[in-house]
C-alpha cells in the first residue's frame, strides 16, 4: 500500500512542475509588453515602467524568473492582485469557502439523487421507468447550465418569488465569518432567520451546479449496477432466498459503488468549470466568479495564481480519489 502511495505521489511531481510552468508562462504569453498589458487603459511613464519591470523581475533571464516564481509559489507567495493590492493567496483563501460550500452541496445533491435514480433504472431495466430516468439523465448531461441557471431564476425567483436572485445571504444579516461556510456561520450567529436566508440563497445554485454531476452519476450507477446484477454472487444471494431489496441494497450496490466513486471524484473538474458559470449567474462570491472578474479586469497576477491553485487542487483531489480507489479495490494497487 505504501509503495502504491509513493508511486502515485512521485507521478505528481512532473505534473506539478508542468502546472507551475504553465501558470508562469501565462503572463509571458500575453502578446505585447507585460507591463503595458497589465496597465490596460492606464498610462505608464517610462520611469514607472522601468521600476515595474524590475519589481516583477521581467528584466532578468527567463529561467531565473521561473525559479524565483517556483520558489515563491511553493511557499505560498503568488504575488499581489493589481486591483485590491492584497496577496493573491489571501484572496483565494477568502473566497474559496464559498465555492467549497456550493460545490459540496451540489455534490451531495447529485449523489443523494443520482445513486438511487441509477439503481432504480438498472433494476427496472428496459421498462418505461428506465427510459424515463435515463432520458432525463441525458437531458441533464446535455444541459447548458448557464441557461439552466437563468431558467430557474425566471421560474423560482421571477414568477414564484420563492428564492432570491443572487448572493449568499440577505444583506440585513451581518455576522463574523467563523468557518467561511454561510450555513454554519448563520447558525452559529444565532440570528433569527439568518439560516433560512442562507439556505434559500443556496438552493438554486446547488441545483444548477449539481445537474451535470447528477446526470453523470445516475448513468454511471446504472451501468455499474447492471454489470454487478449479472454476477454469480448476486444470483447466489437471490437463490439463497434473500429478500430482493437486501440483494440490491447490500450485495449489488456495494460492489457497484467502486466505479461510481471514481466518477464522483472525477467530477471535481466539472464542478470547477460549472462553478465559473453558476457563480457568475448567481453573483456568488467564490473563486469561479473571481477568476472571470479577474480576467475582465486584466488582473493577471490573480488569474495566474488562481490557475495554479485550482489546478493543484484538482490534482490533489484526483490523487485522493486514486488512493481511495486503491483502498477499496485491492486489484488496482497490486496491478503494478
Amino acid at each position: 500500500m505504501l509503495r502504491f502511495l509513493f508511486t502515485r505521489l512521485a507521478l505528481l511531481i512532473p505534473t506539478f512542475i508542468g502546472i507551475t510552468i504553465s501558470a508562469f508562462a501565462f503572463i509571458r504569453l500575453l502578446p505585447g509588453d507585460p507591463i503595458l498589458v497589465m496597465a490596460g487603459e492606464r498610462t505608464v511613464s517610462p520611469e514607472r515602467h522601468a521600476i515595474l519591470m524590475k519589481q516583477f523581475g521581467f528584466d532578468r533571464p527567463l529561467w531565473q524568473q521561473y525559479l524565483e516564481y517556483f520558489g515563491n509559489a511553493v511557499s505560498g507567495d503568488l504575488g499581489r492582485s493589481l486591483v485590491t493590492k492584497r496577496p493573491v493567496f489571501d484572496e483565494f483563501l477568502t473566497l474559496f469557502p464559498a465555492t467549497l460550500e456550493l460545490s459540496l452541496c451540489a455534490m451531495l445533491f447529485a449523489v443523494i439523487l443520482g445513486i438511487p435514480a441509477g439503481s432504480f433504472a438498472a433494476v427496472k431495466r428496459g421498462t418505461p421507468w428506465d427510459q424515463m430516468v435515463m432520458g432525463s439523465a441525458l437531458v441533464g448531461f446535455s444541459m447548458p447550465i448557464f441557461w439552466w441557471g437563468l431558467l430557474v431564476i425566471i421560474f423560482f425567483s421571477g414568477i414564484l418569488h420563492w428564492t432570491p436572485v443572487s448572493g449568499r445571504i440577505s444583506l440585513i444579516y451581518f455576522f463574523p465569518s467563523v468557518t467561511g461556510f454561510m450555513l454554519i456561520d448563520s447558525l452559529l450567529s444565532g440570528q433569527k432567520g439568518a439560516f433560512a436566508s442562507a439556505l434559500s440563497h443556496l438552493i438554486l445554485p446547488t441545483v444548477v451546479l449539481g445537474t451535470i454531476p447528477l446526470a453523470v452519476i445516475a448513468r454511471q450507477t446504472r451501468s455499474a449496477m447492471l454489470e454487478v446484477l449479472s454476477e454469480d454472487y448476486v444470483r447466489t444471494a437471490r437463490a439463497k432466498g434473500l429478500p430482493y431489496s437486501r440483494v440490491i441494497g447490500i450485495h449489488a450496490l456495494r460492489n457497484a459503488m467502486i466505479p461510481v466513486i471514481t466518477t464522483i471524484g472525477l467530477q471535481v473538474g466539472t464542478l470547477v468549470a460549472g462553478a465559473i458559470l453558476t457563480e457568475t449567474i448567481f453573483s456568488w462570491p467564490g473563486i469561479g466568479k473571481w477568476m472571470v472578474d479577474s480576467i475582465f479586469r486584466r488582473d493577471y497576477p490573480s488569474v495566474q495564481g488562481g490557475l495554479l491553485l485550482i489546478a493543484v487542487m484538482v490534482m490533489l483531489v484526483n490523487l485522493i480519489v486514486d488512493v481511495l480507489y486503491g483502498v477499496i479495490n485491492p486489484r488496482i494497487r497490486h496491478a503494478r
Binding site: 502546472i19 488569474v303 489546478a311
Partner: protein
C-alpha cells in the same frame, strides 16, 4: 475458371464486405430509437443551418425599431410578423436562431477536426515510437488535463483575445489530449498483435504501418469520442460566448445571444428561453447519436 472471373469475384466480395459492415452497423444503430431520433434532429439542424438565408424571414442583424422586445406570436402582443418575438434592439429572434445554428455546427466541425487530426497524429506518434518521447508527450497531456477545461479555455482566450476563432482554438486545444490518450492506448494494444507483426515482416514501412495498418483498427473509440466532443465544443463555445469571451455581439451565436439577453430575464422570457433551448436540443441530439454510435461501433464500451 478464367483469371478475369476470379478477380471479379474478389472485387465483388470486397464491395459486399464494406456494404455488409455498414449494414451491420446500421442494424445496431437502428435498434436504438433515441439515436435515430437524434440523427433526425441533427439532420434537420444541418438543413436549417445550410439554408438559413433562404428560410429565415429576415437578416440576423436586421433591426425593426417599431418592434422592440415583441413577444412570440402565441402570446398577447405578439404578431405573425415575428414568430418567436424580437430582442431588445428589434431583431427577429427566429432569424437569429437559424443563423446561429450555422455558428454552432461550424464550431463543432472545426473544433473536432482540429482536435481529432492533431490528437491522432500525436497519439500515433507517441504510441508507435514509445520511450522518452512517449513519456514526455503523455506528461504534457496530463498537465493540460489537470486544468478544468472551461478555466483553461478562459485563460487561453484571455491570452489570445476574445473572439470566436480564439475560442475554437482554445477548445480544440483542451479537447485534444483525450484523442491523444485514446489513440495511444489503442496503438499500444494493437501494436503487438500478429497482423501488425506480419505486416512488418512483409516489409511495410513505418508510415504505412501507422496509418494504413494500425490506425483503421483504432477508429471506433475515436469516432465515438468525436461525436461526444462535438457537443462538448458547442457547449464550451456557447459558455465562452455567454461569459463574453467567445463570439462578440452582434454575432447571432447562441451563447452570445444569451449573454445579451441576461438583463431582460425578468421582463422578456423569450429572449432567454429560445437560444438556450436551441443549444439544448442540438447538444441532446448529438449526444443521443453518440450513445447510439458507441453501442453500434464499440462493443467494449457497450452499456447493456
Amino acid at each position: 475458371m478464367t483469371v478475369e472471373t476470379i478477380q471479379d469475384l474478389v472485387i465483388d466480395r470486397r464491395r459486399v464486405g464494406r456494404l455488409a459492415l455498414f449494414l451491420e452497423f446500421w442494424r445496431y444503430f437502428r435498434e436504438n430509437h433515441g439515436a435515430v431520433a437524434g440523427l433526425l434532429v441533427f439532420a434537420i439542424t444541418c438543413f436549417l443551418a445550410i439554408f438559413a438565408d433562404a428560410i429565415a424571414p429576415y437578416g440576423p442583424t436586421e433591426q425593426f425599431r417599431d418592434a422592440l422586445l415583441e413577444p412570440p406570436v402565441w402570446q398577447e402582443g405578439g404578431s405573425t410578423r415575428f414568430l418567436l418575438g424580437t430582442d431588445a434592439v428589434g431583431r427577429d429572434l427566429l432569424s437569429r436562431l437559424l443563423h446561429g445554428a450555422r455558428y454552432s455546427l461550424f464550431i463543432g466541425c472545426i473544433v473536432v477536426s482540429l482536435a481529432l487530426v492533431v490528437g491522432i497524429l500525436v497519439g500515433l506518434f507517441a504510441g508507435f515510437i514509445g520511450g522518452t518521447i512517449d513519456t514526455l508527450i503523455m506528461r504534457l497531456m496530463d498537465i493540460i488535463l489537470a486544468f478544468p477545461s472551461l478555466l483553461l479555455a478562459l485563460a487561453l482566450v484571455a491570452i489570445l483575445g476574445p473572439s470566436l476563432t480564439n475560442a475554437m482554438i482554445a477548445i480544440a486545444l483542451i479537447q485534444q489530449p483525450h484523442y491523444v490518450r485514446l489513440t495511444r492506448g489503442s496503438v499500444l494494444s494493437e501494436k503487438t498483435k500478429d497482423y501488425v507483426t506480419a505486416a512488418r515482416v512483409a516489409g511495410v514501412g513505418p508510415i504505412r504501418l501507422m496509418f494504413r495498418t494500425i490506425l483503421p483498427n483504432c477508429m471506433a473509440p475515436l469516432i465515438v469520442q468525436a461525436a461526444l466532443s462535438f457537443s462538448d465544443a458547442i457547449l464550451g463555445a456557447a459558455a465562452l460566448g455567454f461569459l463574453g469571451m467567445g463570439a462578440q455581439p452582434p454575432t447571432p451565436e447562441w451563447g452570445t445571444m444569451l449573454a445579451e439577453a441576461r438583463e431582460f430575464i425578468l421582463r422578456a422570457w423569450w429572449v432567454v428561453t429560445f437560444p438556450g433551448l436551441a443549444i439544448l436540443i442540438t447538444v441532446l441530439a448529438i449526444n443521443l447519436m453518440g450513445d447510439g454510435l458507441r453501442d453500434a461501433l464499440d462493443p467494449r464500451l457497450k452499456r447493456s
